[in-house]
Structure formats: structure tokens, C-alpha cells
């Protein structure tokens, strides 16, 4: 009898999650339907967001979401790799606990704190010291220079990506450290015995062995970066325009929804558009998850 109850309780819990997820997707889609009806597929590509004319498009926020998230991954992954590598291979034993705990604590900081820190400390520092220098040097170069031009506001896509990178760092680093530690010592020792350097052991033994989980950790970070709201809202500059420069202001789906929600009336096209944006974010996250699954599968077969 107890077994039957237990079985059904577990089944119920599993089904509940599935039903809840499905209900959220369906609800978002239905609520966003007026926006899809009004603008069609162009809703996804249109860079127009004009509440006065009631013309809405998701282009700018999708662009901002992707750019900040990918940039954040590019910044965070090497750093996380360094942290994990240091903690498992190089650090003296007495240092591993404190540094490891510090990295994990980064994950416990509420995102509003990152937002305030970004707005009051990082953005002014970027705007005063880093951006003017880059704008005057790299910004002068042909082709890639366009990515680094514009007035040094301090806020913008790049600052948002920077904050995001720090926020997702602990997730990626912790995953990497855990899986690096699971590499059987005998593999590494054999490699060392053959005369391999630390880097060669890392490259030739540890990384291939842990590749799958490392990709998983990176995708976990990417998923978080896509949906982060509060911290990004503070530093991204919140402009519904696509600027060619990484220092220019932009917007992400999550921050646009958070900012505009309070001023959207029930039944308005704006509210429908915001919910449609939520649906798109859902789909984006789903795609990321699917890609990571697909990547892992091909690695498994290889």
C-alpha cells in the first residue's frame, strides 16, 4: 500500500511540473496572440517599439538579449575555466576551500545587488576610464571600430554583458570544478608519468573526459543570462534602438517586460506584446536547452 501511494505521489509530482510548464507556455501564447495577429511574423524582426503609435516589435530586445548573453558567455567561460583549473590543479590545499567558497558565494548575491553595484560603481568606472580609452583607440580602427564607438555613458550592452558574466561565473566555475575533480587520478598520473605538462594534462586528459559536463555548465550559465532581469535593467541603458556599438544602450526581453508591465492596461496591445515577448523568451531558452542536448548527444556518440 505504501509503495502504491509513494509511486503515485512521485508520478503526480512529475506530472505536475509538466502540466505547469505546459500551462505557462499555452497561457503566454494565448495572451500574446493579439500581438502576433496584429504584427504577424514581423513582430519578431521589427525593431519598432512605439507605445504611442501602438506599434510593437521584439527585434531590439531579442537582439539585446542574444548579444548580452553571448558576450557574457565569452567573458565568463575563460574566467570560469581559469578558476576551476586553479582550484583543482594549481592551488595549494589551504587555498582551495576559501576561494571555492568565495566563488560559490558570488552565486548567492541577489541580482538587485549586482544591479546597484553595476549602476553606481561599474558603469561610472567604465564611463570614466575604460570606455573613453577604448573608443579613442580600438574605436578608430576600420570595420571592428564600429563596435566600439559612441558617447561613453558607462551603461550599455557591454556593461550589461560584463555584469552578467560575473553573475553566471559561479555556476560555470562550480560545475567545471566539480567535474574536473571527478577525473580519475590514475588518468592524470599516467599522463604526468609520460612527461606531459600541467597544461597538456588539462588539454589532453581532463577536458576530453569532462567535455559533456563542461558544455552543460556553460549552457546553464547561458540559460541564466538569457532571463536575468533586475541587474541588466540597471545597466543596459534601456533604449529601444539597435545601436551598432557595443557601448550603445539597448534592451533585453526580460528588462523590457519588467519596465513596461506596470504601465500596461489590461486588454491593450502593449500588454499582449509584452506577454508575446515572454513567450519568445521561453522559446529562446528552449532552443538553448535543445542545442545543448544536441551538442551533448553528438559528443556522446563520438
Amino acid at each position: 500500500m505504501g509503495d502504491v501511494i509513494f509511486e503515485w505521489a512521485c508520478k503526480g509530482a512529475g506530472l505536475f511540473v509538466l502540466v505547469l510548464l505546459g500551462a505557462i507556455i499555452v497561457e503566454l501564447f494565448i495572451a500574446g496572440l493579439p500581438a502576433f495577429r496584429a504584427f504577424g511574423l514581423a513582430f519578431i524582426t521589427s525593431a519598432d517599439w512605439d507605445p504611442v503609435q501602438e506599434v510593437f516589435g521584439a527585434g531590439v530586445s531579442i537582439y539585446g538579449t542574444l548579444v548580452t548573453s553571448i558576450l557574457a558567455i565569452l567573458l565568463a567561460v575563460p574566467l570560469a575555466f581559469g578558476v576551476a583549473f586553479f582550484l583543482t590543479e594549481l592551488a595549494p590545499p589551504w587555498m582551495r576551500r576559501p576561494v571555492g567558497t568565495a566563488v560559490e558565494l558570488l552565486a548567492a548575491v541577489p541580482s538587485i545587488i549586482y544591479g546597484m553595484w553595476g549602476f553606481f560603481i561599474i558603469a561610472p568606472a567604465f564611463g570614466t576610464y575604460i570606455q573613453p580609452t577604448i573608443i579613442d583607440t580600438v574605436g578608430e580602427l576600420p570595420v571592428i571600430g564600429a563596435l566600439f564607438q559612441g558617447p561613453p555613458f558607462g551603461t550599455g550592452l557591454f556593461t550589461a554583458a560584463f555584469i552578467l558574466a560575473i553573475m553566471i561565473l559561479p555556476f560555470i566555475a562550480a560545475t567545471m570544478r566539480d567535474v574536473f575533480e571527478q577525473v580519475p587520478p590514475v588518468y592524470k598520473e599516467s599522463a604526468y608519468g609520460l612527461g606531459a605538462t600541467t597544461w597538456e594534462v588539462m588539454k589532453g586528459v581532463v577536458l576530453p573526459y569532462t567535455r559533456i559536463s563542461v558544455v552543460g555548465g556553460v549552457m546553464l550559465g547561458l540559460g541564466r543570462a538569457l532571463g536575468e532581469t533586475m541587474a541588466v535593467t540597471f545597466v543596459i541603458g534601456n533604449a529601444n534602438r539597435i545601436s551598432s556599438s557595443l557601448f550603445g544602450p539597448g534592451n533585453t526581453i526580460a528588462s523590457l517586460v519588467a519596465l513596461e508591465f506596470g504601465e500596461s492596461e489590461i486588454g491593450s496591445l502593449k500588454l499582449a506584446s509584452l506577454l508575446a515577448l515572454g513567450f519568445i523568451l521561453f522559446v529562446l531558452s528552449f532552443i538553448v536547452l535543445a542545442i545543448s542536448r544536441w551538442l551533448l548527444r553528438s559528443r556522446l556518440k563520438a
Partner: protein, 342 residues
């Protein structure tokens, strides 16, 4: 037991220890409201004072004008509050009565090295062109012409605006649209608009923070906020052609020149013609159902604001708001009588 009664029960339980010792006030009438953030400080002060004086306990949640409109449409609160007035047909459709309670003013704030409070002179046309991205440097000849006594640096202008939909933005762009046909045509008026230039920040504190941090920045905030945070404000040329400083006198002059006899009291106080009038002043509104589900609570809402009209001016002024002219208050009371009887 539905959610609302649960909430009400919870609220009265929470209030129990406060009420009990006072005995007589145990049947304190509760009313709830939600909406605009802009008048929130003065509503809270009024609520506190009115509770002692009238026994009415007001719970006001500053959730934003749009959310306030939604909540009063669904009748989940006793009154809604909004900065942007609803149109007469919207009011009729939702069975709402709209009336103003108090006024506030906006100021432009700047961060230019060497420029101090109330020194810089600007016009509405210049502000519109700055926010349109047409004037991009502080030493633009059109700005220099107005400020012969000041040394303006060759510095990029960085306009900052409210990124969250807000009544503050509504008032600001109403003013820009009133003085600039190009703004009216290209951008328009709303609680959030598509700003052609600049960077957005969240809330008054975000705009103020951006202006404080970025050299060459300009922004707009409520006057009360500029005063408490000692921000650098500017003079603005009004419709009569005079440069005015933001002061209680110039705000009151603007309010006195307004025409309140429009439907829904949706008076337009931006860019009023008085010689000393500050050009960017706006009222904030209450939305009250004309078919209340609970007439007693609706009456208490009116009693509360009646008390505020009679006794709340000093509190409003303390917080840098501008009380309504007496004639307007009387007109609002008249509208109540017309709608609800004595």
C-alpha cells in the same frame, strides 16, 4: 471565502493591536487604493493624518498608473490613481469618475562642469531638440546664445529618460509636444514613448544617478526629488517669454492659469501663459467608480479626499507638491454631489 475577504481579514488582523487600545476607533473604516507612484508620498502623509482625524484608514499601493487603472477597472480596489488622465469615453466605458487631488512639477537637471543650480537657461524648443538628438553638444550656438554669461564646454549632451513607463514621462513629453511640433509628430505623448536619443534609467533615482555620474548629462525628475537630492536644475523660458526658476511661486502661477472646466478635470497645465508660470506642472488624478459595489466605502473615499482638500495643503507643500486652487476643489466637490448625491 474569496481572496479579497481573506486579504481584508489579514489586514484587519494585522491592524488589530494598533486599533484595540483606542477602543472607539475599532470600527475604523478601511479603504484601499492603488496606482500612480508620483503622488504616493503625499497620499501616505494624508492617510496617516486622516486616520487620526477621521478614523478612515487608507491603504494606498503605489504600483504605477497603468496598474492602478487595471485594478480599478476590475474593482479590486476602492479607488485608482493615475497621472495621465483618462479620456471621457474611457471614463464612461469603465463607469469611472475622475478628479484631481494635487499637482506636481518637473524640472530639468543637468551635469555640466562649472554650471551651478538655476544658472543655465533653456527653452522648451531646445529641450525638445536635445531629446530628439538634434542638438548634441553643450556649446551649440543656440544654447550659447541664451547663456552669454556662462562658459559652456565642448561636451556631448547625454539625455537621460525614464525607462519604466511613468506619469513623469507623460508630463515631460506632454510639454515637449506642446512646444515642439516635430516632437508631437515624430514621438508623441504617452507614459512611455520611443525616445529617439539618449539612455534610459529606472525610476527618478535612476535618472538622477545617471545625470550625476555622466558629464554632460541632462534629465528630468519631479521637483521634490531634485530638492531633496540637491540636483542642479535649470531655468526654462515660459510661454510668456520669461525665464523662470523652479519655485513654489512659479508653480502656483502655472496652476492658477489652468483651465479646469474640461471633462474629467483633465486640465492642461503645461506651457500655461502666465508671466511667471513654470511651464511643466501637472495634476494627478483619482478614479472612482460611479457604480460602486460598496457605497459606504466609496463615500469614505470621498470623505478622505474631502478631508485632504480641507486640511492637507500644508502637508502637500511640505513635500513640494502644489495644492489645487480653491475653485477647483469646490468644482470637484460639486462633481461628487452631482454623481453620488449629498
Amino acid at each position: 471565502m474569496n481572496r479579497r475577504t481573506l486579504l481584508a481579514a489579514g489586514a484587519s488582523l494585522a491592524a488589530l493591536p494598533l486599533i484595540l487600545p483606542r477602543g472607539a476607533a475599532a470600527q475604523a473604516a478601511q479603504i484601499t487604493g492603488a496606482g500612480a507612484t508620483f503622488p504616493n508620498p503625499v497620499y501616505q502623509k494624508w492617510a496617516e493624518a486622516a486616520r487620526a482625524a477621521t478614523g478612515i484608514q487608507v491603504n494606498y499601493q503605489s504600483v504605477g498608473s497603468g496598474a492602478g487603472i487595471n485594478q480599478i477597472r476590475n474593482r479590486t480596489v476602492d479607488f485608482g490613481a493615475t497621472d495621465a488622465p483618462l479620456k471621457p469615453e474611457q471614463l464612461a466605458e469603465a463607469n469611472l469618475l475622475q478628479f484631481p487631488t494635487v499637482m506636481g512639477s518637473l524640472v530639468a537637471i543637468v551635469n555640466i562642469p562649472g554650471i551651478e543650480n538655476e544658472q543655465l537657461r533653456l527653452t522648451g524648443e531646445l529641450l525638445a531638440d536635445i531629446y530628439l538628438g538634434k542638438i548634441t553638444r553643450w556649446n551649440d550656438p543656440r544654447i550659447v546664445d541664451l547663456n552669454r554669461g556662462l562658459t559652456l564646454p565642448n561636451l556631448a549632451i547625454a539625455p537621460a529618460y525614464r525607462a519604466d513607463g511613468s506619469g513623469t514621462t507623460f508630463v515631460w513629453v506632454s510639454y515637449l509636444a506642446a512646444v515642439s511640433p516635430e516632437w508631437k509628430e515624430k514621438v508623441g505623448v504617452g507614459t512611455s514613448v520611443r525616445f529617439p536619443a539618449g539612455t534610459g534609467a529606472r525610476g527618478n533615482e535612476g535618472v538622477a544617478g545617471t545625470v550625476r555620474q555622466v558629464r554632460g548629462a541632462i534629465g528630468y525628475v519631479e521637483n521634490a526629488y531634485a530638492i531633496t537630492n540637491r540636483l542642479v536644475t535649470t531655468q526654462i523660458r515660459n510661454k510668456a517669454g520669461n525665464f523662470v526658476k523652479p519655485s513654489h511661486e512659479s508653480f502656483t502661477a502655472a496652476a492658477a492659469a489652468a483651465d479646469w472646466s474640461v471633462p474629467g478635470f483633465a486640465a492642461n497645465i503645461v506651457d500655461t501663459p502666465g508671466p511667471d508660470a513654470w511651464p511643466i506642472v501637472a495634476p494627478t488624478f483619482i478614479l472612482l467608480p460611479t457604480n460602486p459595489t460598496d457605497p459606504a466605502r466609496s463615500a469614505n473615499v470621498r470623505r478622505f479626499f474631502d478631508w485632504a482638500f480641507a486640511n492637507g495643503d500644508a502637508l502637500a507643500k511640505e513635500l513640494e507638491y502644489i495644492p489645487l486652487p480653491q475653485a477647483t476643489k469646490d468644482a470637484v466637490r460639486g462633481a461628487w454631489r452631482n454623481q453620488f448625491g449629498a
